[in-house]
Symmetry: C2
Subunit: 327 residues, 2 copies
Amino acid sequence: MSLCETDDFQSVSQTLNVMSVKTDPVVKRHDLGMDHHVATCRAELVAVLTTLRNGMPEVLTLQDGHCLPAGPLETEHTSLQRGLRHWVEQQTGFRLGHVEQLYTFGDAAQAQQDRLVRISYMALTRGGQTQSGWQSWYTYFPWEDRRTNACHTSLKTIQDHLKSWAGDQTDRLERCNQVFGLNGENWNDDTVLERYELLWEAGLVPEAGPNSVPQINGQSMLWDHRRILATALSRLRAKIRYTPAVFELVPEEFTLLHLQQAMEALSGRLMHKQNFRRLVQNQQLVEETDRYESGVQGRPARLYRFRRENSENCYLSGAELPLDYIS
Amino acid sequence: MSLCETDDFQSVSQTLNVMSVKTDPVVKRHDLGMDHHVATCRAELVAVLTTLRNGMPEVLTLQDGHCLPAGPLETEHTSLQRGLRHWVEQQTGFRLGHVEQLYTFGDAAQAQQDRLVRISYMALTRGGQTQSGWQSWYTYFPWEDRRTNACHTSLKTIQDHLKSWAGDQTDRLERCNQVFGLNGENWNDDTVLERYELLWEAGLVPEAGPNSVPQINGQSMLWDHRRILATALSRLRAKIRYTPAVFELVPEEFTLLHLQQAMEALSGRLMHKQNFRRLVQNQQLVEETDRYESGVQGRPARLYRFRRENSENCYLSGAELPLDYIS
DNA sequence: ATACTATATGCTCAATTAGAGCATAATAGA
DNA sequence: TCTATTATGCTCTAATTGAGCATATAGTAT
């Protein structure tokens, strides 16, 4: 929600310790707490940069798709975001625009002196990028693309494995049903992360360790980066439904079908064309231009433009109509 | 959205570097990146614990309401969450239940070797707490409680100051209108953080520094903790609308009016009684008990219980009816 | 030119949900 | 018994949503 732009403390706030509090033991307490055992950390900054190309949502990766742009916070970086920008630019040549924090992972498993804290961010960009290293989201999460029947084979396999993992433990069964919508339950687009974590827990992804039995398609990543990617997809799918974030991914001028296909690519589901159009127009999210698309078959579609003025409180939800499921 | 329970990496994921990637330069790159300049950090863990008491949402504080429970990550802590739990328990005696990460702030303003990274969390608990130090949310954000006319004085003052800050800069004016709903625009319950940050930017809260002119009521906090609190309120207000999170704040058995008042306290707005009841019952979020409330005036109200089974995909939105605004 | 195909766009109709408020029921206390 | 007070049931209208038919406008094959 909050596109918190200022990621970092204002310097002034550091000087506030003496302000408006009579008793000073607060400061003492903190000092006391820090005099022993305080762990030193390195902070690593990880970026999930998303774009749309050819109706596919893509993410910027390194190393043949096996990890995300990332790097440690350095003393020269004057803020977390600036550190992130530095690494992404250095590693991919890309200059980030607006950025949204996702989640902070701490390494763990045992007490230790040297720690790694991984702070992940999400950013969006319009298509037409020149960098190499863009990979489709659904390379990593084939089961999340429900626009075609292709996902069914992937889902069928997953469901079989999940069932045998759950056995007759009702709590496991119930979670599988919830998260993957096994029996009649609804599939929730937004719970990408929950699904991935369930697969992890069930040992069905290679990241789960050497004892896992990864018989599921979908490419893995190093250093838990695929979990970070799942977090990003969850967030973005939720976000496009209550903010006009899609418009950061489509060109300045677009047809309503382009817009719809962008929503479909991100949410992984097909929508009802006429109703989608009605929704968008009622919300007054867009305004007509006097131009039309050219060079395509059929009646040419009018080009529209995003109406920035109005639209802070509008959203682009509903109008979902999964099509042709059980083929 | 994602109640990501596992805050931390699995240990196995650390051993993955050798897996499924032919070329190893990834590891090299990271090593190279870290050989100079890497900043060392301390991680501080901050908790926003919320409860409901007497129809008021309250937060657990220290030092007479001037800061939140917090402490540094220590070597003994085997995860960020466990560190958080340790500090909260040590400082307040309270044992946290489920916890949700909010945001990570990095200190900044200048390049430096020793850094502080502040990782904030939110947790909910039922009423009946014995600790001292609970403070009403609206002590810190009086303008956010729109259930009574009391907020109007606070809001009026704010609007006047904001207008004089904006002057005739249209971008500032537009933001004020958006965020505080100055002219006809809708007030968005969820944007607590945006409002607080706007006040900061306008120099209307003391945290904004020595040059600020804090002529607005609402108690301030140390170390940017009030911003963390604002983040928590934003998150919680959003969350209760698409998950059954309210039920973590009301007793096992409750009347529908209790439930409504809980929603009202959190969202800061009044709702239409009959329609709220209709909504809750249609969603099948609750089930009847055979018991009734006693000891109050009027017809006794039936007690209900949360239906955990069904309700993952249900929400408790709509039914908002601000009452008696312009008195 | 004509038929055919493909897409865009306009419009309808029924079902459901939301907004507002009236009416009745059930209690405690005067 | 009467009154104040709260709970709960119900109605009525206005919007919104889900589904799909019909028409418009282009390119392409015959």
